[in-house]
Assembly symmetry: D2
Homo-oligomer: 342 residues x 4
C-alpha cells in the first residue's frame, strides 16, 4: 500500500502514520518528493483496515497495490476452475447453454420449454420459482410447487436445472430439487445469502449486480468461496447506465477482463441484458466471441403469453435458429457447444 501524505502534513503526523503501519507488521519506506512525502508499505494487507490509515490526520489518500480478493484470483490459482452442474462441466473447453422460461408457470408450459431447449441442444434448464419483482403487484412465482415442476421437467428431459433463490428458506428448499442455485443481481451484495449459499453444497450461479464493479463482483464470489464453496459460476447480465434504449448495458469487456482476473467460469445472460428479443442473437454470438464459457437464455413456448419478461424471450424456433448460429461461432474461437449427447 502507498500512503500519500498531504502537502502540509507535519513531521509528527508522518511519524504517527509510520508508527501505525509498523505496529501492524508492515515494513515502510519514505519517498520524499519535491513537495510531499509518500510512504510505501509492504506487508499483509489483511492485517489492517485501510480506512484506519486513510483517516489519520495528515493523510491525503491511500493507493492500493494489491487486489482485495484472494481465493478467486488467478494469482491464487492459475488454471481455470471447472464447475460440475449435474452431469455438465462449466469452465472447460465446451460451451454450456442454459435455457428455459423466466418463470415456472405451469407443468405444461415448463415441459414444453424443456423439450424445446433440449431438442435444440441446451443442457441445463432454467426456470424461476421465486421471482424478485420490482412491483409487489407482479407475479411472484410458484415457490415450492415451481421447484417440483422444475425438477420433474429436468428429469423427464435429461437436463440439469438451475433456479434463483432469494432467502434462507428458498435456498434450503431449492437445494433439494435443483443442480445449481442462482443468486440474482439484486442480491449480489446480500452478504448473508452469499454466506448461506457458500454452505449449502450446491454450485452457485452468481449474477453481477446492476451497478457492481468487476471488483465487487469478485468480492461477492469471495464471500461464497470463503464460506466453503468453490463451485461458483459468474454471470454477466448487463449493468445500469444512462442508456435506456436497452434494458441494461451488456458489459462484455468485463467478461474478457474478469477471465484474466479470476479462475472461475463466466457465462452471459443476453436476455436480461438487452430486454429485447431481437438483440439476444447478436449478443449471444458476441458473448461467445468475447470468451464467455456459456450462455443463459430465456425461452418460452409462447412468449406472448409469458407471465414475465416475454418481450425478451425466444420462442422454440428462434432458439433453435440461435443454436445453429452459435455452433460456427464456437468453432471460430476454438470451442464447441456442449450439447450433452453421445
Amino acid at each position: 500500500m502507498v500512503v500519500v501524505m498531504k502537502l502540509n502534513s507535519s513531521p509528527e503526523q508522518i511519524a504517527r502514520v509510520n508508527g501505525r503501519l509498523h505496529a501492524c507488521g508492515f515494513q515502510t519506506q519514505m519517498i520524499k518528493g519535491v513537495k510531499r512525502i509518500v510512504i510505501g508499505a509492504v506487508g499483509d494487507r489483511q492485517s489492517i483496515d485501510i480506512t484506519h490509515v486513510e483517516n489519520m490526520p495528515g493523510v491525503e489518500k491511500v493507493l492500493r497495490v494489491m487486489k482485495p480478493y484472494k481465493l478467486v484470483s488467478r494469482e491464487f490459482k492459475e488454471e481455470n476452475t471447472v464447475v460440475r452442474v449435474g452431469p455438465m462441466e462449466v469452465g472447460g473447453s465446451g460451451l454450456v447453454v442454459i435455457a428455459g422460461p423466466c418463470a415456472v408457470e405451469s407443468k405444461e408450459q415448463l415441459l414444453a420449454a424443456a423439450r424445446a431447449v433440449r431438442r435444440a441442444g441446451a443442457t441445463v434448464l432454467r426456470g424461476g420459482a421465486y421471482k424478485p419483482r420490482t412491483s409487489p403487484y407482479s407475479f411472484q412465482g410458484l415457490e415450492e410447487e415451481g421447484l417440483r415442476l422444475l425438477a420433474e421437467a429436468a428429469a423427464e428431459t435429461g437436463l440439469a436445472c438451475v433456479t434463483e433463490v432469494i432467502d434462507e428458506e428458498s435456498l434450503k428448499l431449492a437445494s433439494e430439487y435443483v443442480d445449481m442455485v442462482q443468486i440474482g443481481a439484486r442480491n449480489m451484495q446480500n452478504f448473508r445469502l452469499l454466506q448461506l449459499a457458500g454452505r449449502a453444497g450446491k454450485p452457485v450461479l452468481l449474477k453481477r449486480g446492476l451497478s457492481a464493479t468487476v471488483e465487487e463482483w469478485l468480492m461477492a464470489a469471495e464471500y461464497i468461496v470463503t464460506s466453503g464453496n468453490e463451485n461458483v459460476i459468474l454471470c454477466e447480465r448487463g449493468i445500469r447506465t444512462f442508456e435506456n434504449s436497452t434494458r441494461n448495458t451488456l458489459d462484455l469487456s468485463a467478461v474478457a477482463l474478469a477471465k484474466t482476473l479470476t479462475h472461475l467460469p463466466i457465462i452471459v445472460d443476453p436476455s436480461h441484458a438487452t430486454g429485447k428479443r431481437e438483440l439476444v442473437g447478436p449478443m449471444s454470438r458476441a458473448a461467445v466471441a468475447a470468451g464467455a464459457d456459456g450462455l443463459i437464455i430465456e425461452v418460452h413456448p409462447d412468449p406472448s403469453a409469458a407471465l414475465c419478461d416475454g418481450q425478451q424471450s425466444l420462442d422454440p424456433g428462434e432458439f433453435e435458429a440461435l443454436m445453429s448460429e452459435l455452433r460456427p461461432m464456437a468453432a471460430a474461437v476454438g470451442r464447441k457447444l456442449d450439447e450433452g449427447r453421445e
Copy 2:
C-alpha cells in the same frame, strides 16, 4: 396505458391487442395516425401485466400513463405522513437529526458517541451491529452484543435508536432492542426482507439503492406498506455514477422530487453519500435547504480509530459545529431542529 403499434402491423394484430385489452376490462380507443395506429386504453392497470401487451405481435411499445406505486403516492394520500420513532416525530415541521458511529465497536465508544450527539442536539442514535461489507475480510459487526449496547446507550442518554438489519434473524433481534430498523442500500431490492420488515411492527428507514431510480425506491417502500407497515422513512444516501471523486453522488433533486410524489418522510445521509468528512457539513446544509425532513450523520468519538468509515465520520467537535450551522439553515426554510428537549 397507450399502445403504439408498429408501422407495418396488420389489422389482425391490432384486433388481437384490442381484444386482449377488452378482455382485461379496459376500454380502448383507436388513434389512426398518418403512419401508424395507437391504442389508448383506460382501466385498472393492476389487472394486466404490461409486458403481456408489449410482447404481442405488432406492438412497438407501451407507454405508461399511471404511476406503478399506489399506497405511498401523494395521489393516494395528500398530507405528509408523520412517523413516530420512539418519542420523536419524523415528517412533521421539525427536523430530526440521527447521529452516531458507523459500527458499534464497544461500550465505551458507543456511550461516548451517544453523549456527544445528545449534547449537540441529536435525538436518535445510530450504530451498526450487522455490517454488510464489500469484503469478507472486513469487520462484520458485534451482532446481538452490538444491539444490546445500542439499546443501553440510547436508554442512558435519552435518545431513540436505529440499526441496520440484513436478514430475518437480525430483523427479529433488532426489533426487540431498537426503535427503528434500517434497510440498507444493498438490500433495497431484497424483497423478502422488505416484506418481513413490513410485518415486524417497527418503523423502517429505507435507504435508496446505489442505482435505484426514484420509482424503484418508491416501489420498495410500497412492498413494506403493502405488507402492513405504513411507518416508512425514505433515506437518500447517494447514487453510483461515473464520478469517483466522491464516494457516491448525493442526489438532492431526487429528495425534492420525491417529496412531490410521496407522502412519506425523507431524510438524507451525507456521510455515505460523499465519503469525505469535509463535505458532510455543506451537504447537510444543502439537504435541509432542499426540503429533507432530517439527516443521518456518522459521528465517532475518535474517527481515526474507527473500525469502519472513519474518513467520513465527524468527531464530537465537528458535529457540534455542524448542528450550529443547521439551526439558521432550518430557520431559513421555516423549520426548526427538533432537539428533543423541553
Copy 3:
C-alpha cells in the same frame, strides 16, 4: 404524440391544449380515463416544438410516438447504405479494418505502422494530426505536417486514410489530404462542426459521445445528413459508466440495436473502448459477432514508445494475430474481411 393531462387539470386547460394542437395542424382525440384525460394527437411532429405543449398549464407529460430522426432511419430507407472510403466500401457484405497509430508522430513511425497494418490485411490507415487531449500539457499533434505524412504513408502503401478533425480549419485542411474525416466522441454534439462536416464533401466517421444515447448519436448523424452529406459511418467507442476497470464500457448492444434503427454503417473501436491491449482481441471478435461492419484499431510499431494511448495499442505482431482470429469470426457470421487485394 400523446399528451397526458394532470389529475386535476381544468376543462379550460384541456381546451387550450387541444386548441394549440389543432392550430399546429394536428388532429386530436380525447381519451377520458377513470381519473384523467389523455389527448392523442396525430400530425407532423416537425410542425411543433414538443416543449411548447409540455409546459402548458395542466399538462403532466407528453409521450412521443415517433422517432425524432428521419433521414438516417431505417423507416426512411430500408436497405443498408454503403459508404465509399477511397477504394473501399463500408456497410456492404465485407468487413473493413481501419488501423494505425493514435497519433502521427514521425515519418518513420507512421510508415512502419502503415506497412505493418497493410501487410496484415487492413485497408484504411488511421493517424491523428489534431489530438483533443484532456490536459493542455499533453502532446497535441503535428497538425498539417501530420496530415501530409498521413497522406504520403497511405499513398505509398496503397491504403485509404482517415484522421480526426476538431474545428473548421482542421476540417478544411484534412479534406485536402485524407479520404475520410473523423469527428471524435468529445465533439459528437459540436453541432457547428457536424454541419461543416456535412458540407465538406468527405465521408464522415462519427464517434458516439461518451455519454450519448443511441438516439442522440443518430440525431448527430442527422445533422450531417441534413447538411448534405449522406456518407456517414457511425463508430461505437465505449460509453462512460461507473465501471472503472476498463477505460470505457463498450456497448455492443447499441451496435446491434442501431443496425435495426438506421441504414448507416457502424464500426467499433475496441482500443479506446477498453483502454487495455489484452482486451482488444476479444472485443474485436465480439464486435464482428454482434454485427459491426468494421473495426478501427490502434497499432503502433513500438507501443511502449507511443506518444499517446500506448497501453491500448497493438504491436505489428499482435495485430497480425488479431487479423488471423478475425477471418474465421467473419466467416461465422457469413461475411469476409475485405483485405483490398486482388
Copy 4:
C-alpha cells in the same frame, strides 16, 4: 508517481523502467514487497507522459500522486479568485444571480424578461443567441440579431449580460456585445474553443460536461487559463446518470468538493440540472447552502410560449418568490445576495 510492477516482472524490465524514469529526471526508490516491486518516482510529472511508463513491459499500473491541474488549483493559489462581470464581482462574499430566458426570441420577450429579473434582484441577464440543440429541426437561435437584442436589453435595464458561444465566429461576435461568454456542457471538451476563449479577453462561464469528472472540468478550466485568461467561472449544471426522473442529476457535492480544489468561483444552474420548474426553487436554495457563489436561472415572461426549455423556466412571479427565499438562505451561510443596487 508510483509504478507497480507485475508479479512476474523480470529484473531487466524493472531496470528498464527505472532507467526511463531517471532519463526523464525522476529520482526513484525501489520498494520490494513480499510478492512484487513498486517503484516510487519523484520529479516533475510534466516532463513525462504517464502512458509511456504504463505501457512498458512488466508494468501493471501507475498510480498518480499529484493532481494533473496546476494553475486552477488551490495549491497554486490559496485565496478565492474574484471574477468581474461588468460591474459585478463573482467569487467574493456576495452571491450573484444570473437570470433570463433560455433563448433570445424577440425584443419584447427579452426586455420583459430583463425587467422582471432586474426588478426581482438579479444582476446579470442570460439569453441564448446560438443554441446547440440535439435536433437539427429545433430552433437554433437568432445569432447576431440575438446578441444585439441582448446587449440592448442589458443596457436598458442596467444588467450585465452573458451568452453562449459555440465556435470561433460566435465567440468573436459575442465578445463585442456581452460581458461574459459561456461555454456549454456539450463543448466543455471542445479544446479549440477553450483555447480561443482563453484569448478572447472576456470572462468565461464554463459549464461542466454531461459526463465530465470534477478533474476533467478543472482541466478544461486549465486550458482556458493557460491560454491567458484567469477569469473563469465554473458552472455545475447536472450530470448524466441512470436516473431519468430529472433531466440530469445535480451534483452539489461536486460544488462543495471543487471549492476545496480550486480557487475559481463556482455557480449552479438548477434549471438545466432538473428540467422541472417545481425543483428550481429547492435546488437553488440547496446550491447556496452547499457553498455556490451564485446561480443561473431560466426565467421567461411566459414559459408556456417559450421556444425552448419552457418546462424548466420560471415566470416573473415565481422568480420573485424564489429571490425572496434566497435572501434568508444566503444569510444562513453568512453571505448576501448581491442585488446591484445602492
